[in-house]
């Protein structure tokens, strides 16, 4: 690759190691970028909607995962193309911000790029296209807000929330049990939600998976489940009215961080040291016991002797509790995390109704359940399923549902799903396009076409004729002035999404359109790609 040549056609060396680099510029660069991004969008497009299919992904180590979740798919595909990576990030930022709609956002970006490609062929400057998209995006967002409806999340035993969760779960492998799982998710979120502040701390919902049983056996535990058992096999398996001592120091003789040596030079020293060592253990256990605690959870390990002393003092204990679990237990039981034995006081203990060991299956695996915590603000969803892949996918699905519910609690405005919101926006954008007198008009019109791509993709995945169904839905929206007409994916006999009760959150839809537009704009601004040759 060379940037410049002298009179004799010899290249000037401008870039370091320029011989081993390649360069694409101008239209070639645009097209190559767009095609790469579209390839990703195409892969994802068949996962969209309730009848979307799953992808099977084989990791570099040969592990298999099957999923329908856009963010997970693109993450596990290990994409190397730089522009395609932008779409991966797009999906991930939707996941981080909203948690749902990760497939939709990539598909929309793909449709927009497709439109951009035709516009480029017409000779329209990329910046004009992105300006047009930008203006169209504003119009679409404004219209989304206009057609959004506020729902009463409290009414009818949180029916609206359950419906929204069902919509999120509808496209997943667990869709058969979407109602049950939706209810579990809603209860879990409401248990930990701070309705006054309209906020939910999702850290308080622990999702624990365990293979075995079936998805129906998934249940909500109003407490915390930790994948650990008692440190000594003979400790009691159940503690009622537990007073929990939460420690982050090991039951071992202290290990000062300063490097030191203890030199023993006589037999007396040796004996003294022995006595002191014994004293350490006795003191530790005594401190815990004296505080009134009847169970100790520790982030670190126990020495054998300490372990036995705990048993002897009738103090069940758990070792190697993970850091996140320690924090969660602290929040739920009101315990203070105690970093040193000397600081144990009765006030710092956490309280819970019961702590007990439960067993699963034949292979003797045990877990601890902490129930009826003092500040019952932490719950665990225990997911069961026939195999690791199902359990993993169920976990991702429930996470999506939980995010949707959280978003609704934060902002209770919804739009209707089934492609109806996109169609309504497309109509609005199209109207606006005709008012624009500059070149952008074409870009704005294309934006509307891209929006229509979503319902068309939905219809395609459901085995309906995409062109007919989108045309019909669009015509009915205009004729009846009803923005709720969408695609009847489930073949329920009505295209009114209000009757089908397909809800999506306004925040998710808004975010989708905004993020997709942004990424497309970014891709359209790249006119030169310089990369190492072997990349």
């Amino acid at each position: 690759m060379s940037l410049a040549f002298d009179d004799y056609g010899r290249p000037y060396i401008i870039l370091r190691e320029q011989g081993s680099k390649k360069r694409m510029k101008g239209l070639e660069a645009y097209k190559s970028n767009i095609l790469a991004a579209k390839a990703i969008a195409n892969t994802l497009s068949s996962s969209l909607g309730p009848k979307g299919m799953d992808k099977m992904l084989v990791s570099p180590d040969g592990d298999v995962s099957v999923t329908n979740d856009g963010a997970t798919i693109v993450e596990k595909m290990e994409i190397q193309h730089p522009t395609a990576k932008l779409l991966v990030e797009l999906s991930q930022s939707q996941d981080a911000e909203i948690g749902d709609g990760t497939t939709g956002v990539v598909v929309l970006a793909g449709k927009l790029l497709e439109q951009a490609l035709t516009l480029l062929d017409k000779g329209i400057h990329p910046l004009k296209i992105s300006d047009g998209f930008d203006r169209a995006c504003d119009v679409a967002i404004k219209h989304l807000e206009n057609i959004s409806e506020e729902i009463d999340i409290q009414a009818n035993e949180h029916e609206a929330l359950i419906q929204a969760a069902c919509t999120a779960l509808g496209s997943k492998v667990v869709s058969k049990r979407k109602r049950e799982l939706g209810k579990i998710a809603v209860t879990a979120v409401l248990d930990v939600a701070d309705l006054g502040r309209k906020d939910v701390n999702l850290d308080l919902i622990k999702i624990q998976t365990k293979t075995g049983g079936s998805v129906e056996d998934t249940r909500l535990i109003s407490g915390i489940l930790i994948d650990k058992d008692m440190s000594h096999p003979q400790m009691v398996k159940e503690v009622n009215d537990a007073k929990i001592c939460l420690l982050t120091c090991p039951f071992e003789p202290p290990k000062p961080k300063t490097k030191h040596n203890i030199n023993i030079s006589s037999a007396e020293d040796y004996k003294k040291l022995y006595l002191q060592e014994q004293q350490y253990f006795v003191d530790m256990v005594k401190l815990v016991k004296d505080s009134g605690a009847n169970i100790a959870l520790c982030q670190w390990g126990f020495d054998d002797e300490a372990n036995h002393l705990l048993l002897q003092n009738n103090l069940p204990a758990v070792r190697w509790v993970s850091g996140t679990d320690v924090e969660l237990i602290a929040m739920a039981t009101g315990a203070r995390i105690i970093p040193r034995f000397q600081e144990i006081t009765p006030e710092k203990l956490g309280k819970a109704g019961s702590v007990k060991e439960v067993q699963f299956g034949t292979s003797n695996e045990r877990m601890l359940v902490i129930e009826n915590c003092q500040c019952t603000k932490a719950v665990t969803i225990l997911i069961r399923g026939g195999s690791q892949m199902i359990v993993d996918e169920a976990k991702r699905s429930i996470h999506d549902a939980i995010c949707v519910i959280r978003n609704l609690i934060k902002d209770n405005r919804i739009v209707y799903g089934g492609g109806s919101a996109e169609l309504a926006c497309a109509i609005q954008v199209l109207q606006y396009a005709d008012e624009v007198s500059s070149v952008e008009q074409y870009a704005i019109r294309s934006f509307a076409d891209a929006l229509e791509g979503i319902p068309s993709c939905l219809a395609d995945n459901c085995g309906l004729n995409p062109i007919t169904s989108v045309a019909q839905a669009k015509a009915r929206q205009l004729q009846e002035n009803n923005h709720r007409i969408g695609i009847d994916c489930m073949e329920l006999g009505t295209t009114d999404m209000k009757e089908q009760r397909i809800y999506e959150t306004l925040s998710s839809k808004k975010q989708q359109i905004q993020l997709a537009t942004q990424v497309v704009k970014m891709i359209l601004k790249i006119d030169d790609v310089i990369a190492p040759d072997d990349y």
Partner: protein, 536 residues
């Protein structure tokens, strides 16, 4: 390249591949069905075994396994195909969850996919197939629950059920000729647990030699260790102290300790102190006045001698599991510190007799008449270690099934009866369902009927005829009929006494449907570039 002929930029890594649509689906069907076909021949009382031979240098002929257990076969296989991996996964889960039916679950999932493939070829959308399967699964599950019966846990019927279930499970294993004997043995072992589901209490010891028939259930607890030389070999009314403590030398646990001396005398002093420390520990142990001392860790000669002098029988180096079992069986507490001799009565375990016994060539220690009489030992004998391994797996399966039955208590008729009844329920449902899904429901019924068919085929009988006759008998209302694999006919399972645990069937049905659905939903397989490994 895309359809128009543009060269698409490479999006994935170099060696990564992506298969879409039909190709992806074909790949998963082929893989899953191949795996199912592989284990299919092991199904049923006339199923065959497989030899598993490990690859890798130097171990070609060493650790071969001969088995009929689906999970063991699948676990040991290395497969590349992602769908095949899913089947292996569900088989493993089945093993962990209920312990038996590991072949059934893989075969059922495979048969479902085989039927699914036909439907796809008929241009039915996978989602439609899944919708149908879901209806079928619910119907089948409901029928399975309806036909199962429950007996009171204390009753004689329940006891008989257990024996029948054990026999049915054993009938497909290597020890089928001695199934009466082993069924009785396993049921006795499980009933000793008194409803608890802790398999740890049942210990299985394998000793080559003798015949399978020489295996027996010992109501005591057998520890595969030896009594240290110089101690009594037979102790009556033993008081047992179980410990997990260092008895070699007591290392100092305080961090950063070092011994630094400036003369030889001091060394001697320290050594004496060390010795004294050990003696002190032994003295403390002696305060408990045990007659037997079991330690998990090594015991050096010096403390061993001190203990032996005090007339205590010493058992060293009992591994963790062995120690936990001794503790559980004798009601002892596992000690690591020895400062509470006043709690002696709670701490020491009791048993009436400890003696050294010989099984075959090996010396072992037997604890009989233990305080907590739950533990027991199954001693397996057989002419080779491969046979013993297989018998061990079979017994494990039976014990798991029995424990599951004790927990769940619901039983169904065996001999393919439950599968045929479920299939019948699906067929009835298919008549009432509108739309293409009905085809999928029928397919589900066919897949279920494949299980008895395969069992017949494996026995070398005319499966088509038998299964059809079977269907007719059920239609006539003989709801307890099933396959009689002894003479290749249809018989009343009530008379033959073939019963199975409902929970095993239920779990197999659920897991197989879930897996089949999972594979069916896939329309795109992305294989990442394999991780580069540095050659050592």
């Amino acid at each position: 390249m895309d359809i128009v002929g543009n060269v698409l930029p490479q999006v994935l890594k170099d060696e990564a591949t992506e298969d879409k649509g039909e190709m992806a689906r074909l790949q998963s069907f082929v893989g899953a069905i191949a795996v199912a076909d592989l284990v299919k021949t092991t199904l049923g009382p006339k199923g065959m075994d497989k030899i598993l031979k490990p690859t890798g240098p130097g171990q070609e002929m060493t650790h071969i396994t001969v088995t009929n257990d689906g999970a063991t076969i699948l676990k040991s296989m290395y497969v590349e195909n992602p769908a095949a991996k899913i089947l292996i996964e569900i088989s493993k889960t089945q093993d962990e969850e209920v312990g038996d039916g590991t072949t059934t679950v893989a075969v059922l999932a495979g048969e479902l996919l085989r039927e699914g493939e036909k439907l796809i070829q008929k241009r039915i959308h996978p989602q439609q197939v899944i919708a149908g399967w879901r209806i079928a699964r619910d119907v089948a599950l409901k029928r399975l629950r309806d036909i199962s019966t429950e007996n009171d846990i204390e009753s004689q019927e329940f006891h008989n059920d257990l024996i029948k279930i054990a026999k049915t499970t054993l009938s497909s294993k290597l020890i089928t000729t001695d199934r009466d004997y082993f069924a009785d043995l396993c049921v006795k072992a499980v009933l000793r647990l008194k409803g608890s589901s802790n398999l740890d209490y049942i210990q299985i010891i394998k000793i080559p030699g003798g015949t399978i028939r020489d295996s027996y259930l010992d109501d005591g607890f057998i520890l595969k260790k030896q009594i240290t030389i110089g101690c009594k070999r037979r102790i009556e009314n033993a008081k047992i102290l179980v410990a997990n403590t260092a008895m070699d030398y007591d290392k100092i646990k305080i961090y950063g300790t070092k011994v630094k001396v400036n003369s030889m005398d001091k060394v001697a002093e320290i050594e004496a102190a060390e010795k004294e420390k050990m003696k002190h520990k032994v003295d403390k142990i002696l305060q408990y006045q045990p007659t037997v001392f079991v330690n998990r860790q090594l015991i050096y000669n010096y403390p061993e001698q001190l203990l032996a002098d005090a007339g205590i029988t010493v058992i060293e180096h009992a591994d963790f599991e062995g120690m936990e079992r001794v503790a559980a069986a004798t009601g002892a507490e596992i000690l690591s510190t020895f400062d509470a001799p006043e709690r002696r009565d709670q701490i020491l375990g009791n048993c009436e007799l400890i003696e050294e016994i010989m099984i075959g060539e090996e010396k072992m220690i037997k604890f009989s008449g233990c305080k907590k009489n739950e533990a027991c030992t199954i001693v397996l004998r057989g002419s080779s270690i491969h046979i013993l391994d297989e018998v061990d797996r079979s017994i494990h399966d039976v014990l798991c099934v029995l424990i599951t039955t004790v927990k769940n208590r619901r039983v169904v008729w065996g001999g393919g009866n439950s599968e045929m009844q479920m299939a019948a329920a699906c067929d009835e449902e298919a008549k009432r369902v509108q739309g293409k899904q009905a085809l999928a429901i029928e397919a589900y019924a066919r897949a279920l009927r494949q299980l008895p068919t395969i069992i017949c085929d494996n026995g070398g009988y005319d499966s088509a005829e038998l299964v059809q006759n079977f269907k007719v008998e059920l239609e006539k209302g003989n709801l307890s009929y099933g396959l009689n694999m002894n003479d290749g006919s249809i018989g009343d399972m009530k008379e033959l006494g073939v019963k199975e645990c409902m929970r095993v069937k239920e779990q197999a049905l659920l897991a197989a449907s879930e897996a089949a659905e999972l594979i069916m939903r896939v329309d795109d397989i992305v294989k990442c570039a394999p991780r580069k490994r540095e050659r050592a």
